[in-house]
C-alpha cells in the first residue's frame, strides 16, 4: 500500500517527455542547495546552482532559464532585489521564492517583488516538485467556454459538468476545485496549493479539510465501475488523471 503510493508520488513529478527544463537555483545554503539539486535532477530537470545574488543576476541576464528558484536571504544582493531587477530587465521567467520566513507579510512582499509562487522552509521535496511543475506547465486555457478533459466536460458559463452522459451535481466550491484539477491533468497538486488557490486561505486548518472536500468530489465524479479520476499521493496531495 505504502509502496504503491510512493510510486504514484514519483510518477507525479515526472517531467514532460521531450525537452529538458533548465532551472536556475539561487540558494546560499550549500546543503539545502545540494539536496534540492539532487532531487530535481532525479526528476529529470537540468539545474544550475548559484550561491549569491550578484552572480545570479549576471547569469540570469546572460542565459535563458525556464524557471528560477530564488532564496530570499542571499549574500550580496538579497533575493527580492534580484527578482525585482530581473523583472525590470523584462525577463519574464517564472520565479519560485524560497524563504525561512513564513509570515504572511513576507509572502505578500515576495509575490509583489515579482515572484510567481512562495514556499517557506522547511518544505517537503514533493511540495517543491509540485510547485516547480505547476510553474513550468501553465494550466490549460481554453478559447471556448467548455473545458474537456478525458470523459469530463465542464461548461464554464453554465457552471455545469458532465461525465460522459451523466450530469454531475456540484456545489460552487466543488466546481472550482474540479476546474482547478482539470486544468492541471497529470500534475501533482498539493493540499497547500489547493488551500491557497481554490479557497484563498493562507492558514493551514488543523483538520484534513482538503481531503474531505476531495473525497466528496470524488464520490460525485466516480460511480461504480468507472475508473477513478482523482488519485491521492500520500503526504503530498492529489493528481487528476485521465484514464487511458
Amino acid at each position: 500500500m505504502v509502496e504503491q503510493e510512493r510510486e504514484a508520488g514519483s510518477a507525479a513529478a515526472r517531467p514532460v517527455p521531450g525537452r529538458k527544463f533548465n532551472i536556475l537555483l539561487v540558494e546560499d545554503d550549500q546543503s539545502i542547495a545540494d539536496e534540492v539539486r539532487d532531487d530535481l535532477i532525479s526528476r529529470g530537470y537540468v539545474i544550475e546552482h548559484i550561491g549569491d545574488g550578484t552572480a545570479a543576476l549576471r547569469i540570469a541576464q546572460a542565459r535563458h532559464f525556464d524557471l528560477m528558484i530564488v532564496d530570499r536571504l542571499l549574500p550580496g544582493i538579497d533575493g527580492l532585489s534580484v527578482i525585482e531587477r530581473i523583472r525590470a530587465l523584462g525577463i519574464r521567467t517564472p520565479v519560485l521564492v524560497l524563504s525561512a520566513l513564513s509570515a504572511v507579510d513576507d509572502r505578500v512582499r515576495g509575490l509583489k517583488a515579482g515572484g510567481d509562487d512562495y514556499l517557506s522552509k522547511p518544505f517537503a521535496f514533493l511540495e517543491l516538485a509540485a510547485r516547480v511543475e505547476a510553474l513550468l506547465r501553465r494550466p490549460i486555457e481554453v478559447r471556448e467556454t467548455v473545458l474537456r478533459v478525458g470523459p469530463l466536460e465542464m461548461d464554464l458559463i453554465d457552471r455545469t459538468v458532465r461525465r460522459g452522459d451523466r450530469p454531475l451535481d456540484l456545489l460552487p466550491r466543488e466546481f472550482k476545485l474540479l476546474e482547478y484539477l482539470m486544468r492541471r491533468p497529470g500534475q501533482l497538486v498539493t493540499r497547500d496549493m489547493l488551500l491557497e488557490d481554490v479557497w484563498q486561505y493562507r492558514f493551514l486548518p488543523q483538520t484534513n479539510l482538503v481531503d474531505v472536500h476531495i473525497g466528496r468530489l470524488r464520490r460525485k465524479l466516480d460511480v461504480a465501475g468507472e475508473p477513478p479520476l482523482i488519485q491521492s499521493v500520500r503526504g503530498a496531495g492529489f493528481i487528476f488523471r485521465v484514464p487511458d
Partner: protein, 476 residues
C-alpha cells in the same frame, strides 16, 4: 558620593532656587525702600534750602549780612555753607570763597560739585545748593551736604545682613535636610531595583503608607512588577511546555532512525521507518509554524488588512468549509444566523479564528454530536459563537484555556499543534474583541464566543510583555 548627591537632588535644587528667589525679592525690596527714602530726603533738603534762600532774599542788605554771620556763628548746621557775593563776585560774608561754577542763579536747588565749594573739606561728595540774585545785584548762595543719605545706607545694609543671610542659609539647610531624607528613600528604591534587575523578581519597592508622591509611584511600580512577574512565569511555563512538546516527537524520530539503521533488514523496512520518522518531524514543524503564526499575529499588529467584515457571510463560508468534515466525523453542523452584523476587522484572520474554533469542536465532540455556528446580537454587540456537544471544559480548566500558548493536555495525544485557541486569542486581541468561554444552555459541551466589542481588560503593558513572550517562545 552621597554628599554630592545631596546637592544634585531635586529637593535641594528646589530649596536653593527658592532661597535665591527670596534673596532677590528681598534685595529688590530694600533697594526700593532706599531709593524712595533718598528721593524723599533730597526733596526735603531742596525745599528747606529754597525756602531758606527765599527768606534771606527778602531781607535788606544790612540785615542779610547780619543774618549770614548769625547763620555761621549760630552754627545752625555744621554742614551748611553760605556766601553773600557782591555784583563783581567778591565775597561779602559767609564761608564760601566764590560762586560755584555753572551754578544757575534761579533760586532752585541744584546738585553742586564739592570742589567748587570747599577744597579744604573733601569728603562732602554731594552737595545741594541754591543760588539767588538779589535785588541789588549781589548773589546769595546757600548749600548743604547730603551725607545724611549715606548714613541712611548703613542701617539698610545692616537690616539686609541680619535678615537675608540667615534666611538664605536656613532655606539651604532645609533643602539639604529634605533631599537627604528623599535620597535615603531613593537609595533604597535604587538598591531594590538593582536586586530585581539581578533576577530577584519577587522583590518589591518599599512603601510607607503615607500616600505621598513617592509612595504612590512605588505602589504603581509594584503593581507593574506583579504583572510582569506573573507573565514571565506564564511565558516560562509555556517555554518549558513547548520545549517538552517538541522534544517528544524529536526523541521518537531519533529513536526510530537509530533503530532503523541498526536493525532494518531491507530497504522497504528502512523506508517505512524513515516515513514514520518524517511524520514525527512534520509534527514538530507544525507546532513551530503555529508558534510563529501566533508571534506574527501578536507582533505584527497589522491592522492594515482591516475592512468591513460581514459575520454572517463568514459563518456561511465556514459552514460550507466544515460541513463535509462534520459529516465525515458523523457530526451535525448547524448554522444559526439571527442577525447580519458588520464589524471592522481582517476577514482572513477572523476566518482563521473561526476555523480554529470549529476545528477544536470537531476534534473534541464524539460522533453523533452537534456543532453549531451562530451569529447574533447580544446587547447591541455582534457575537459569533461556536458551540459543541462534546465533554465541555472542566470548571477548573476554564480560566487557563484562554491563556496565551495554552496547550490542552488532551491535545498532546491528538493530531494538530494544540495551539488553536492561542491563535484565536491572538487574533481576538489584535481586533480588541473578547473571547469568552460559556456553558451551553442545556446538556454538556462548550461554547466559545467572540464578542466584537473592545476588551476592557486589554492592558498595553501586559501585551508588550506577552509580545516579548511570544518572541521568546518562537525563538525556541
Amino acid at each position: 558620593m552621597f554628599q554630592t548627591e545631596i546637592f544634585r537632588s531635586s529637593p535641594f535644587r528646589l530649596a536653593a532656587a527658592f532661597a535665591a528667589a527670596i534673596a532677590a525679592v528681598t534685595l529688590l525690596l530694600f533697594g526700593f525702600i532706599y531709593w524712595q527714602t533718598a528721593i524723599f530726603e533730597t526733596a526735603r533738603i531742596n525745599g528747606l534750602l529754597q525756602s531758606e534762600a527765599a527768606v534771606l532774599a527778602s531781607e535788606t542788605p544790612q540785615e542779610l549780612v547780619r543774618s549770614v554771620n548769625r547763620q555761621l556763628a549760630g552754627n545752625l548746621f555744621r554742614v551748611t555753607f553760605i556766601g553773600l557775593f557782591a555784583r563783581d563776585g567778591t565775597l561779602i560774608a559767609g564761608n564760601l570763597r566764590h560762586i560755584p561754577h555753572g551754578m544757575p542763579l534761579d533760586g532752585f536747588a541744584h546738585r553742586v560739585s564739592a570742589s567748587g565749594i570747599e577744597p579744604q573739606a573733601p569728603g562732602f561728595a554731594v552737595v545741594r545748593g541754591v543760588a539767588r540774585q538779589l535785588a541789588d545785584g549781589s548773589v546769595l548762595v546757600i548749600a548743604r551736604d547730603i551725607a545724611v543719605l549715606a548714613e541712611l545706607r548703613a542701617p539698610v545694609l545692616n537690616a539686609l545682613e541680619l535678615g537675608l543671610i540667615p534666611a538664605f542659609l536656613l532655606s539651604l539647610a532645609t533643602g539639604a535636610w529634605l533631599s537627604r531624607r528623599a535620597l535615603a528613600r531613593v537609595k533604597v528604591v535604587h538598591e531594590t531595583i538593582e536586586r530585581i534587575m539581578h533576577g530577584d523578581l519577587h522583590e518589591r519597592l518599599p512603601t510607607r503608607g503615607t500616600r505621598d508622591d513617592l509612595d504612590r509611584l512605588a505602589v504603581s511600580v509594584n503593581r507593574m512588577l506583579d504583572r510582569i512577574e506573573r507573565l514571565l512565569h506564564e511565558v516560562k511555563g509555556v517555554g518549558d511546555n513547548i520545549a517538552h512538546d517538541l522534544r517528544t516527537p524529536l526523541a521518537r524520530a531519533r529513536a526510530k532512525l537509530e533503530r532503523g539503521r541498526n536493525s532494518a533488514g531491507d530497504l522497504a523496512t528502512l523506508g517505512g521507518v524513515v516515513d514514520t520518522a518524517v511524520a514525527d518531524l512534520d509534527q514538530t514543524i507544525v507546532i513551530i509554524t503555529a508558534l510563529l503564526r501566533i508571534g506574527e499575529i501578536e507582533t505584527g499588529r497589522r491592522r492594515s488588512g482591516f475592512g468591513v467584515v460581514r459575520l454572517a457571510e463568514l459563518a456561511r463560508e465556514a459552514y460550507e468549509l466544515y460541513q463535509p468534515v462534520c459529516e465525515e466525523h458523523l457530526l451535525a453542523l448547524e448554522l444559526e444566523l439571527a442577525a447580519e452584523p458588520q464589524v471592522a476587522g481582517d476577514g482572513e484572520l477572523l476566518m482563521e479564528a473561526l476555523a480554529n474554533l470549529i476545528d477544536n469542536a470537531v476534534k473534541f465532540t464524539p460522533a453523533g454530536g452537534r456543532v453549531r455556528i451562530a451569529v447574533r446580537m447580544e446587547d447591541g454587540i455582534p457575537v459569533i459563537a461556536v458551540a459543541d456537544t462534546g465533554p465541555g471544559i472542566p470548571a477548573a480548566e476554564r480560566d487557563v484555556v484562554l491563556r496565551r500558548f495554552y496547550r490542552a493536555e488532551a491535545s498532546r495525544h491528538t493530531a494538530g499543534h494544540g495551539l488553536g485557541l492561542s491563535i484565536v486569542g491572538a487574533i481576538v486581541r489584535l481586533h480588541q474583541f473578547r473571547l469568552v468561554l460559556r456553558e451551553p444552555a442545556s446538556g454538556s459541551g462548550a461554547v466559545f464566543a467572540i464578542l466584537a466589542c473592545p476588551d476592557p481588560a486589554t492592558e498595553t503593558m501586559a501585551e508588550g510583555v506577552a509580545r516579548a513572550g511570544a518572541m521568546t517562545a518562537a525563538a525556541l
